[in-house]
Amino acid sequence: MTGLQINGLGLVGGFGCGAEDLQVALEKREAPVSRVNLRDHLFPLFQADTAALGNYLNKRALRRIDHFSRLALLGAFQALEDVGPLELNRERLGVIIGSGFGALKTTFGFLDSIIADGDACASPTAFSNSVHNAAAAHISMQLKLTGPSLTVSQFDQSLVSGLLSARQWLAEGRVEAVLLGVVDEYCQVLGYCWERYFGEQISSKMRPLDFDHFSAVPGEGAAFFLLQAEADCAAKYGIIDSVVMGQLWGSRPTLIPGQPLVLGCEGHPLNGGIYRQQLPENASVACYTPLYGAAPVTQGFDLAVAALTLKRGEMFPSADSGGDYYSGSVVTEARKVNRLTCLRYGFGGEYAVIQLKGNG
């Protein structure tokens, strides 16, 4: 297949804003957990702050843009800025957005307008912003990108599903570059769902390599990538070699022996068992979800970590060192690497595998 060069990164999440903030969190092996409102109490969240978007857009431009789209816009602006002076034809730049849940706050905000004031007072602005492709629309308008635009919603496979289409577009020559991003946001209903599903166990310290015990903390944020077809010139970060999405009822992920795995586990025993059963015994693993939390699209952050890893040619120590609960081999100190794989299992047997390599 055609490799995909990662030539720009845009990030916002619990660790902060931008690749540098993520890198700091990776080195410290921790990121702050906020406490946010959930009805009458507080709830842990890797919360993403979009204040930095003020550097790119004024208040007037932002007035109808909700938190979900702000997360996405912040990711998008950074990723394009990160590419640098590279001339991109904006008619030939595709936009692909993946989201597990879409604009939750505005989805319920629209219902608020109906419930509070009746059907006749339903807010058209809220309705228009509640559609899943609202973030893509704001990105195309604010960044003047007029190529193909696609928003996908595939829960845990949202990133790989989007990557498959990005690869198609570049391979077919539909576009010269793809701005691909994933985004999910927190809202109180989501917090309620977490409490109903996971009860009292909600913690604030993630131990994702403990596959048997619940330790997930929800996260929100956006991870954006500027992708181009593999070319003679070096990639700024690294190259996505292959993207595979599959289902355990039909196949198993093909993993390359000896290649370190960035695991997308998030401290959910619901799918922890799958990781334990499926992981090769001698696999060398790292997991960074304790730096950004659990959400359908956090594989986007895994991919960003992989990109930063390949750029410096060295693994970051796993944010979960495995303690006494994980018996396999965990990457606990920096070590040279030029190839690695991001692996994520969903809750129903679906899996996503992204293999990456460094330049040359």
Binding site: R63, R64, S113, A120, C121, S123, P124, T125, S128
Partner: protein, 83 residues
Amino acid sequence: MDIKTKLKQVLIEELNLEDITIEEIGDDEALFGEGLGLDSLDAVELVVVVQKHFGVEIKDMEEGRPALQSINSLAAFIEEKQK
């Protein structure tokens, strides 16, 4: 508070016009296009705002268009309907 001031206030709040103040909105200033710079989505939002805050229904855009020209025209429309 007179109806025009109240209109300006709810306009700023409901349409998130954080970058302007009540004083900066002229009674005769065009709400759409040049002027305040509102657009078609604001127009339908304004219909809801008028219903919600003034209890006045704007049935469709044929009725809405002349009313939504400026603060003056909107205030006159509301006062007429409230009679």
